[in-house]
């Protein structure tokens, strides 16, 4: 598995000065902004949400309105959330590595 990708896919244009909300991806600390969805928080610091189940290709969501189900991310507790409709909460710990998938 490649190292983390520091390239951010999304670019913020508003809410840039909102209070930071800390979270981690595979143990590495990042911060989002108050009002972020999980998807926006992650895609604003990196370029993928998860690996696909069968071919391990990177995925980053697709429809952003809760229809395509492409943006499921796994929390360290094993729970899965749909990133585009879930508000970011402080201390959320996301797992994106292959071993975290089923």
């Amino acid at each position: 598995m490649a190292a983390h990708h520091s390239r951010s896919q999304f670019q913020r244009h508003f809410r840039r000065d909102e209070a930071p909300i800390p979270f981690t991806i595979d143990g590495i600390a990042y911060s989002g902004r108050r009002g972020d969805t999980v998807l926006v928080a992650i895609m604003s610091v990196t370029d993928r949400l998860r690996q696909s189940e069968f071919t391990s290709e990177p995925r980053a969501g697709f429809c952003l309105i809760g229809a395509c189900q492409d943006c499921f991310v796994t929390l360290a507790c094993g729970m899965r959330v749909r990133a585009c409709t879930t508000p970011l909460e402080a201390q959320m710990a996301f797992i994106t590595r292959e071993s975290g998938n089923e």
């Binding site: 896919q9 244009h13 429809c63 952003l64 492409d70 499921f72």
Partner: protein, 456 residues
Amino acid sequence: MNDTSPAVVVGAGPAGICAAKTLVAAGLRPIVIDEGLRAGGQIYRRPFLDDGRSATDLYGSEAAKATRLHREFDALLPSIDYRPQTLVWNIADNQLHLMANGDHQQISFQNLILSTGATDRVLPFPGWTLPGVYTLGAAQTALKAQGCTIGRKVVFLGSGPLLYLVAWQYLKAGASVAAVLDTAPFTAKLNLLSAFRFDPRLVLIGMSYAARLVRRGVKLRYNVRPTGVDGSQHVEGLSFKSGAKTHSIACDAVAYGFALRPETQLADLAGCSFRFDDRDRTWLPVTDETGRTNRKGVYLAGDGSGIAGADAAEISGELAALALIQDSGAVADPGRMSVLAGARRRKAKLRDALEKAFPFPENWFEQVPGETKLCRCEEITVSSVVDTLHGNDLRELNRLKALSRAGMGRCQGRMCSAALAEVLSSTQKLTLTEIGRLRAQAPVKPLPLSLHEGGA
């Protein structure tokens, strides 16, 4: 079930809001169930929290409508039972099965208005699963609801009114628009002349986006076929054919789609009958002009009953509510109903013209390479679906789904059913009507494993 079961409205976009408002005006206290955090639907979606943008910043030419609908809905709150962030995941025996915050609930209904809206209509092309490729609706939602753009240099690709609108919104927000690639020929836009007769304002606004893009130096191209996304880990560019030539353009994101498709799963589970609609190339629930269905007490409104746009959704939401009121034995203003029905017919004619101006690419299957993933969820390629058809007389869509696994994943075919239908009909030389439609299955969206019984 008792006679006092309240009317239920599913969805709080323009159709649901207008339906709820009309029911409240008639003295009813409806339950309004919506998946969203705040009412408004997709088109009039409100940000999670205020980020300093005005209604004009957020909704452009439609700011006054958005503001009015939000205000009207907020004023309804004391008179309705509003359930945001709630998914209706099944309908069976006049019971709605709900999931809210991990809790399962069931409520019975006698009268139900489904205003479930639409999602982007997409067709696979090589690289469409790569990070940085999003639907046009997604690109707009990122900006509208979250104040983000899906990349720094974005190509807009496909067909439909959103193509030019979202490109312009991105440019205005400070992103770079690498190109606007319309899959329809320029001549298709001549159909806007007939659309003008039915809604001059809409057509002029739409054309002004294209004009503004050109003025800002954005390249518009017509009759484009995407051949692939460049990049292995994320979008680095887009290759496409325009005429006989293949071009490549550098970008870090692609927003694409071919107009919208209705969300009809709940209507299906409610037992509504469907008919094939040639214009929309899809199966639609059968309704009369007010939104009544073959199921007593079940009404449809908005794009979920056939794509017609936000203004038409307001009309059909009110109409469905008036039909419900009338069928319950109360007095509904028949004059008002016939005015609304007339307005709805005009919107349908507008939609006919717009569909011709932004047509669906009918020759997609002839051009898509076999190794392209058709089903994002199960990662099934086009050629593996075609292989499933080899040497057998498979003629029905659900059967193809069962054997190929395409359409079986988490999205339940929302993203691939249009393509799956094109593959089956083209390969077996059958019409889209003959191959049937994918049946909806509960749960209509994935449920958490921990779902447990909650209070009613």
